[in-house]
């Protein structure tokens, strides 16, 4: 609205003087125009991009956020792979269970595999609850972010160990 008024006003002389000031074109750029100009200018000038992931200091909340994404992708992929395997591979469930039993893997490796499944499940679940807590607008002060974060890590480790030992 202001932009329109500005462009109309500048079409005619503003004051009586021997020198008349004319502005034929409307002034000002829209936000979208400015953004386009920004991208065009910077790509043509070949300016470097300032470093980011290589220099930014890591923190617990940042690591927890990317771990949530990582475990989410891992779990999603594992379930899809399991589903595809169930659809495509010949033989039924008991056949593959016997196959795994026949492999002489020590209890340590079995435990490791169990932990490897239990930890992503528990971490993603507990951090998911933390995300839901954020979605209702609570726990946004930095000390609260750390407190809930440590709680999630603690619960995940305890639950994973418990599930592994079962």
């Amino acid at each position: 609205m202001a932009l329109l008024l500005r462009s109309v006003r500048l079409g005619k002389p503003l004051f009586k003087s021997s020198v008349l000031c004319f502005r034929a074109a409307p002034m000002g750029t829209t936000a979208k125009e400015e953004m386009n100009k920004f991208w065009a200018k910077n790509s043509s000038l070949n300016r470097p991009m300032s470093p980011h992931i290589t220099i930014y200091k890591w923190s617990i909340p940042m690591m927890m956020s990317i771990t949530h994404r990582g475990t989410g992708i891992g779990l999603s992929g594992a379930i899809s792979a399991f589903a595809m395997a169930a659809l495509i591979l010949p033989g039924n469930y008991t056949h593959y269970l016997d196959l795994i039993h026949s492999l002489s893997v020590g209890p340590f490796l079995i435990g490791l595999a169990k932990f490897g499944i239990a930890f992503p499940v528990s971490y993603h679940t507990y951090n998911g609850i933390r995300h839901l807590y954020w979605d209702i607008g609570k726990g946004f002060k930095i000390p609260e972010v750390y407190r809930t974060g440590y709680t999630v890590i603690g619960l995940s480790v305890i639950t994973s160990i418990a599930l592994t030992l079962m």
């Binding site: 936000a31 979208k32 400015e34 953004m35 100009k37 920004f38 991208w39 200018k41 910077n42 000038l45 300016r47 470097p48 991009m49 300032s50 470093p51 980011h52 992931i53 220099i55 930014y56 200091k57 923190s59 909340p61 940042m62 956020s65 994404r69 995300h131 954020w134 979605d135 209702i136 607008g137 946004f140 002060k141 930095i142 972010v145």
Partner: protein
């Protein structure tokens, strides 16, 4: 001596005392000047657009902290004044209110004028420009996109009826004014937006925490009548919803504000404003 005592309105014993104290102070000052220099290393990102083929590099400067002010900006100014006048950076108020000196110091985004130099001499201070921004020169990033995004949210009071503009104050209750606390103090330094990995990857379409917090500032201003339109402008997958509550923004804000919370409040309003509109019809 008696003439001096009379002139200064002092007893001779007091005059002797004062003379002794002055002598001690003089000796102390002389001793202080001979104290060991505390040399701190500063590693600063450098890039010159006017040198053809120049690549970004780190340059190390050494400063005696005994001869420098306490803040990182003091060190940068000392380097520019005494050691390397080509070092380029933005600065203005030197008191944390203008937002010009925003940069990445030791891995975190802050204002150089508010960040105390770490007196641990064994570790260098690493200074980079704000992350994932096009570099104009040395520590100066191109902020135009950030400003254009701010412009796009229409950060001014909008009323349905413009005819009453300028006639009277638009009254606001104390409770309504308190809702703006923690939002209006933003100095648009861009520390938060440039700390957000989502903004790093999607600076073209995601608005970033600073701009979103200002959008919220206008949404909840009781005097503004375009809340619904402001909300509907964010109704796409990118403008608001690239926020995944990473919370780097609130951690890094040099003014102690909470953009992460403001964004969460916007998301809550986004969930219900259409129902409110439908219910009102």
């Amino acid at each position: 001596c008696s003439v001096v005592c009379d002139k200064l309105h002092l007893q001779p014993i007091d005059f002797i005392k004062k003379l002794c104290m002055a002598a001690v102070r003089y000796a102390q000052t002389a001793a202080a000047a001979a104290v060991q220099p505390r040399i701190k290393k500063f590693q600063v990102y450098r890039w010159d657009p006017d040198t053809p083929g120049d690549k970004p590099r780190m340059q190390t400067y050494e400063i005696d902290l005994n001869l420098c002010g306490p803040m990182v900006l003091d060190a940068l100014i000392k380097i520019k004044n005494e050691m390397d006048s080509t070092l380029t950076f933005r600065r203005s108020c030197r008191e944390g209110i203008c937002g010009s000196c925003a940069m990445n110091i030791n891995g975190g985004n802050t204002l150089a004028c508010l960040d105390k130099i770490d007196s641990n001499l064994s570790k260098p201070t690493k200074i980079y420009p704000l992350p994932h921004m096009y570099v104009v020169k040395d520590l100066v990033p191109d902020m135009s996109n950030f400003y254009a995004q701010y412009k796009s949210i229409e950060p001014y009071l909008k009323k349905r009826d413009d005819s009453k503009e300028g006639k009277e104050q638009y009254l606001q209750s104390v409770e309504d004014r308190q809702k703006l606390d923690g939002l209006y103090e933003c100095i648009l330094c861009a520390c938060c937006s440039t700390s957000c990995p989502s903004y790093w990857w999607n600076a073209d379409k995601y608005l970033g925490p600073a701009v979103l917090m200002q959008a919220y500032r206008w949404m909840i201003d009781s005097r503004d009548e375009f809340t619904e339109e402001r909300l509907s402008k964010l109704q796409d997958p990118f403008s608001l919803y690239r926020c995944h509550t990473i919370m780097n923004c609130t951690r890094t804000c040099p003014k102690g504000l909470n953009p992460g919370k403001a964004i969460a409040e916007i998301k809550k309003m986004m969930a219900t404003y259409k129902e409110k509109k439908a219910a009102a019809v």
